[in-house]
């Protein structure tokens, strides 16, 4: 008898058969006497279809309308999941983000949680219902639907687990857990049975597709222990918590690949204090994160700035930067193509030397040219050609002894 929050991602609820399978899994817990809150994503593909439809109509859709549009995906899934549970004789009721008391700020398409009340979830659970909540979405003070951005459904689940004081939080996805690398890219990737928030945070922020950083940060802040596991089998997954004893012995825990980066170059910037700050401020105010910044002075009195933004933000960034360049007299912006960021992460890097040497040697041996470099205490990241991303991940995985 536990209170369990479960989150099922888009592939887990990808079609009607899968939704029925999810319902059967939930029924197993209900039959066991557990109380279950389920957070679901949109069926896989639906969100992308909606975005594509919007972009056909308007290349720069207004963000409030985008959220009105995207919220549709999860609303469909909660209703279908409730119907599936009913078909198995399980009491269930669906709740939108707003109905589940997920309150956010006004920052459409990437809203931040302001307050989580859970709405009437405790009452509905007490009546014997499974409560199905639409992930990824909330509501703001103006009564408008908002979405939480990428990985928002994980955040919904972890936030609900925190507020409801759930005993267990399970993040069901299409992989068996957190791997030393994306198993779709690196065949020899292995499942990590336990890891700490910090480790996963580095993996997440580097583009590992399993969990977004903000969800992990939220879990860390509120001490929500969660398990990432597959909805397609019954194997245990990866448990993520504050401290993991065995971590000390591992130099590199994993390799992360992010293929969703666009390289941006701003040329002919007046080489005066504050010019770069203005450029980054404009992006920061629009909520666009920048990464892998390289600055160099090309001609007398002119600077050149290169950095990456996420591919999704690229059109917006270009528009903002063009306006900003006009103000900076003579500066020019150009998007010089999509690139991949490949990284190795490991808390062991703090105490082991030689990691950088091994890293660059492995890439060089495979003729992989490095375009941008950025490092921290526990990671090394490089920006490379998109086509070389998978190769790089594999050679690094081998070089650091992560192959099984």
């Amino acid at each position: 008898m536990a209170l369990i929050v479960q989150k099922y991602g888009g592939t887990s609820v990808g079609d009607t058969d899968r939704i029925l399978n999810v319902a059967k899994r939930i029924k197993g817990f209900v039959d066991n006497g557990d109380k279950v809150v389920v957070v679901v994503s949109a069926r896989s593909g639906v969100t992308n279809e909606l975005i594509a439809r919007a972009k056909k109509i308007n290349a720069f859709p207004e963000e409030r309308e985008m959220d009105m549009l995207l919220a549709v995906g999860e609303q469909e899934t909660i209703a279908l999941t409730a119907m599936a549970l009913h078909s198995l004789g399980v009491k269930a009721v669906s709740r939108t983000g707003a109905q589940a008391g997920i309150f956010t700020d006004m920052d459409y398409t990437r809203a931040h949680l302001v307050k989580i009340t859970g709405g009437d979830i405790p009452e509905r659970l007490a009546e014997g219902n499974v409560v199905i909540v639409a992930g990824f979405q909330g509501v703001n003070d103006a009564g408008n639907v908002t979405t939480l951005g990428r990985g928002g459904s994980d955040l919904s689940a972890i936030a609900l687990a925190a507020i409801l004081k759930a005993d267990v939080c399970q993040i069901y996805t299409d992989v068996d857990g957190i791997y030393t690398a994306d198993p779709r890219v690196v065949k020899k990737a292995r499942k990590i049975p336990e890891m700490c928030y910090e480790e996963l945070l580095e993996m997440a922020s580097l583009g590992s597709k399993v969990m977004q950083a903000r969800s992990v940060e939220f879990a860390q802040k509120y001490g929500v222990v969660f398990e990432v596991r597959s909805s397609f089998n019954n194997e245990s997954g990866t448990i993520v918590k504050e401290e993991v004893a065995s971590l000390e012995d591992v130099v590199i825990s994993g390799v992360a690949v992010d293929k969703n980066q666009t390289k941006v170059t701003v040329r002919n910037i007046p080489d005066r204090p504050g010019a770069c700050a203005e450029i980054f401020s404009v992006l920061g105010e629009a909520g666009i994160g920048v990464d892998m910044i390289v600055q160099n002075t090309s001609q007398a009195g002119k600077a050149r700035l290169t950095f990456t933004v996420s591919k999704d933000d690229a059109p917006k960034a270009e528009k903002l930067l063009k306006d900003e360049c006009a103000k900076l007299g003579g500066a020019e912006v150009c998007l010089t193509g999509d690139i991949a960021k490949v990284s190795v992460v490991g808390t062991g890097m703090r105490t082991h030397s030689g990691v950088a040497g091994k890293f660059f040697r492995a890439l060089a041996d495979s003729d992989i040219n490095v375009d941008l470099i950025t490092t921290s205490e526990i990671k090394i990241s490089v920006g490379i050609d998109l086509e070389k991303a998978d190769l790089a991940a594999n050679v690094l995985h081998s070089a650091f002894g992560l192959d099984s």
Copy 2:
């Protein structure tokens, strides 16, 4: 400068190109200085897709969850339509049924309007916005989304036109107006330039696909003059209002075909007072309308009842009737197949004789067998074989001089 409420049906917003066309049409009115409130349906096919997906999961989906599911269709369209207007430089904002203050009772999937406030529509219009409202949906006291049933978007538009005191209410659809018959069935059907509510009500209640009865009744009650017209051209359509001078001269105004009927037979009913009442009460309480009732006594002490229900209601009706038959000891229910109801309507029938003779002669001449008959002051309806429906509509259209 007028306040115009426009409603665009599913085919008018069927894909992104059509949504952009609708936006261009709206822009024309905005450029003319009009204030425009737009009510949209789900893209054609979407509602049926959602229903099919639900039925794959659960043959009898709970109605609250059904509405949670179906509301998705219109929510998608309002966002896309707002985006399309933005792409043309027109200020626009979307509103769900709840946000537009469309309050209903708790009767899911066929909710009734309880109160319409319009929400903040007047303020948004005053700011120069086009306001795009999700048709077909509302919200009940429990804060749950409800849907208004078939033709609900028309009702949303007419109700908003009434509360906002709109100067004009335009119902855009995929036909040019109200025809003497469905032009997809009867090639020689002609557009009727003006007709009165009562006339259209008979057409609507008989299954003409253009408008549902409740929308017309609502318009009549609140004196909302509306025009049914095409979103694919600029021709004027059919204006519907209280009185139309020329109507007196016309014997038959139109032929209606309803192919959405299932014939139900209940056999071996104890021939005692109240037995039939109990059967119809059970259906009435579930909100299932019955039509074309025929009763006859087959064997000693046993009655047989035949009637039609809408095809959508048939599975539910069968379930309810089976339970009821069990109570009525020995009665049996069987659904004896889908049939078509073909009708002629005309206020002129009140003053002209010979209509019935001409009606049945026309059917007999074409070898069309009549299964059920029902009549009123201004209409004659017959239940016939589904395959013969189009033929019947055509021969009746010719017989009553409606061909152009």
